[in-house]
Amino acid sequence: MRDPRTKVAQARPAGLQKPEKIDIFLTGIGGQGVLLASEIIGEAGLSAGYDVKKSEVHGMSQRGGSVTSCVRLGKPARVRPRASDPALWTARASARRPPERPGKVYSPLIERGSADVLISLHPEEGRRYRGFLRRGGFFLEVPPDIVKKLKNPRTFNIVAVGMLSAHLGIPEKIWMDAIAASVPAKHLEENKEAFLIGKGLQARGGGPTLRKEIGGRKQ
């Protein structure tokens, strides 16, 4: 077990582009490594100073069923208030900030229509969970062909982590450390490579893999 306090204190590079709260919804099928990917994202978020909450459903999913995981990152200081239902506030209050602990992530689950990023490791599963994406959220789908470029096809999930990293502004070293903490040492290099391939996909201006979903869900 790590001591999160030390981690929070250490990572604060200046000029880091760091949104205040990021909800990431991952989907795929059993055996693809959805949970490992979400684990790494959570680790990296924690190291970068976010409050992290992560949830997943497994059990039967190990048998090839649908696997989903939510990773929620909350910046530990100065945060935009999360849109909460105005009916719970009085009218004049809407301009002020609610007395919420800044950046603290409460729910381990992401609501439909509110994920900032939807990561899909499997086209069908990506379509099924599309409704979780907010308007204007990022839909990141790992291109199935990428498997040909990978030394080990099992590192497919790490490509997704690399793709996400291009949008979060968390330094690469933090990502690499998170990967090293989560995969067996003998597979570390091929995982790192898969991460860089994923990151490269996004760096080249997105291409066919990054579709910014204007309007989120098609009504």
């Binding site: 306090r5 997943e56 090839g64 719970l88 209050a93 099924r128």
Partner: protein, 557 residues
């Protein structure tokens, strides 16, 4: 410190994680009742003990729990119940908070990882201070979520462990138990007072400008959903949710204009708050089914639906893995068109298409009892069509008494034990049939054949489910016998070691007649292309060869 458990989603990881601490003595027990009894024994000697199980596991252990409430403990004893609202991987969604009330013991409900850490310590303290077992109740969203945890400072207790005779406390014969019951009722009163002053039951004053006049009474993960949806409201956050802090509830009710209870499953808090004579709003009755989420909590609090359109369409049911030995047995059972009483485990998936050859599933061990009951009442020609299937871990958990029942009552029938040498569905945990303990040491292994014969089976056959013909012959022969027959289908779970059985098979397109008989195996490695051709996925195929056995034209090699 001692801990015991039987694996069950979503509780399994508790002992798996605890076992990584060398200094904690941990074990898998054959079932939850034994785990509880072993923990009680350790507690009686002064050791702090923890026992963990899924919600339905507590049913099995409840016999021990109900009287443990009377005897109390010596070393602190914490019972972790991991409930599964929404039934992600369970046969029912019973609300085990009712057990706290039923057994008259205190209950703590953490709402995130940090509280889980903190509350276990609190639970041990309460247990020892009030001479009571403590129920720590979590749900899937607590068990299967991670959040930031502070590391505490370890405090070694260094107790001298010994058992001191105390019949009035530990021997629950009626005369002693009557006296203990009065103590239980007194204990409940002191616990109620504790609930009012314990800091984990806290009032969070909201800001009146942001909806603070709305008062929400909640516990567990429901608290997190509420905070997400209504950060400005006032809260009575219950860390200790049984017994309820009566004074605090009244104080809270006076502070707010509108009082709402938000809880998953049963109206456990709601009914108690109503019984205090308070006017309280709560969720509609239909939300007593299934788990909550922020969206539903928003609906409960505002009466408005989430405008986001489109739910989650379709579904991807779990399937048996490529190369799973269960497939061979269920393929044969479906061909023979038998009535199959089933049980809890991966093989419950035999109920799904295309195999569709498992007809009942009630609880751990039920397959054998159910088959026995059918055999008792059905006429002989129909009785011959009934067969029970049960996994190795489930057989050791609760199947043995069923087999003994059949032998003792001379009930004829056939029982198939699906021995894959692990507790597969929960993620491959060891059990008395695997030869390994939770700590990874080698140990004695149950001999199923000897065991079944000792219980009174008339015959025991062992087959390899990869050989479909052998399975069929063995099942047919067993069912033709007059007495009680057992077939052991033995093939290690393919996920152990993740080794491929043989080179992946492929379809000879020239020979394939596209008859699709291979699809009846329900193997995820066999793909039906849009043009009607059949293909075997080279990465998924385990090389078990069942499909080449069912192929009529030898097109799979």
């Amino acid at each position: 410190m001692f801990a015991a458990a039987y694996p069950g989603t979503p509780s399994t990881e508790i002992l798996e994680a605890l076992a990584t601490y060398e200094e904690v003595d941990c074990q898998w027990s054959p079932n939850e009742k034994v785990a509880m009894e072993v923990a009680i024994g350790a507690s009686m000697c002064g050791a702090r003990s923890l026992v963990a199980m899924k919600h339905v596991g507590l049913n099995v252990a409840s016999d021990a729990l109900m009287t443990l409430s009377y005897t109390g403990i010596k070393g602190g004893l914490v019972v972790v119940s991991a409930d599964d609202p929404g039934m992600h991987s369970s046969q029912n969604e019973q609300d085990n908070r009712n057990y706290a009330k039923f057994a008259k013991i205190p209950m703590l409900e953490p709402s995130d990882s940090e509280e889980a850490r903190l509350f276990v310590r609190r639970a041990f303290e309460i247990s020892e201070r009030f001479d009571s077992p403590v129920l720590l109740r979590v749900t899937t969203r607590i068990s299967h979520s991670k959040s930031v945890v502070r590391l505490g400072v370890r405090k070694e207790l260094n107790r001298e462990l010994s058992f001191e005779k105390n019949a009035a406390k530990y021997v629950m014969v009626p005369a002693n138990a009557r006296l203990r019951h009065t103590l239980v009722e007194k204990r409940l009163e002191s616990l109620s007072a504790l609930s009012d002053r314990i800091p984990i039951n806290r009032i969070e004053k909201g800001n009146p400008a942001y909806g603070g006049t709305l008062g929400i009474i909640t516990s567990g993960v429901a608290y997190q959903y509420c905070k997400e949806v209504a950060p400005g409201a006032s809260y009575l956050k219950l860390g200790m949710s049984y017994p309820l802090p009566v004074r605090k509830v009244h104080e809270f009710a006076r502070m707010v204009k509108k009082l709402v209870v938000v809880e998953e499953l049963d109206p456990f808090l709601e009914e108690q708050v109503r019984a205090m004579g308070l006017k309280v709003h709560a969720k509609p009755a239909e939300l007593r089914c299934g788990e909550l989420n922020p969206e539903l909590v928003r609906e409960i609090l505002t009466g408005k639906k989430n405008p986001a359109s489109g739910g989650v369409s379709g579904g991807r049911p779990p399937v048996m893995c490529p190369g799973c030995g269960h497939r061979g047995v269920f393929y044969v059972l479906s061909r023979l068109k038998l009535q199959v009483t089933g049980d809890i485990g991966c093989y419950t998936l035999g109920a799904l298409p295309p195999l569709q050859s498992l007809d009942t599933c009630i609880c751990m061990g039920a397959a054998i009892g159910n088959a026995a009951g059918m055999s008792r009442v059905l006429p002989p020609e129909k009785r011959k069509r009934v067969v029970a299937v049960i996994g190795d871990s489930t057989f050791l958990h609760a199947g043995m008494p069923g087999l003994m029942d059949m032998a003792y009552n001379q009930t004829p029938g056939t029982v198939i034990i699906l021995d894959n040498s692990t507790t597969a569905m929960t993620g491959r945990q060891d059990h008395p049939g695997t030869g390994r303990t939770l700590k990874g040491t080698e140990t004695k292994t149950v001999d199923y054949k000897k065991l079944c014969l000792a219980l009174g089976a008339d015959s025991v056959r062992t087959v390899d489910p990869y050989n479909l013909e052998d399975v069929e012959l063995a099942v047919r022969a067993a069912m033709e016998e007059e007495g009680l027959s057992v077939v052991i289908s033995r093939r290690e779970c393919v996920l152990i070691g993740r080794m491929r059985h043989a080179a992946p098979l492929r379809v000879d397109a020239d020979k394939c007649t596209r008859c699709r008989v291979c699809l009846k195996l329900g193997c995820p490695a066999i793909l039906l292309n849009e043009d009607g051709t059949i293909e075997i996925h080279p990465l998924l195929c385990n090389g078990c060869g069942m499909c080449s056995q069912v192929c009529r034209v030898e097109a799979i090699l």
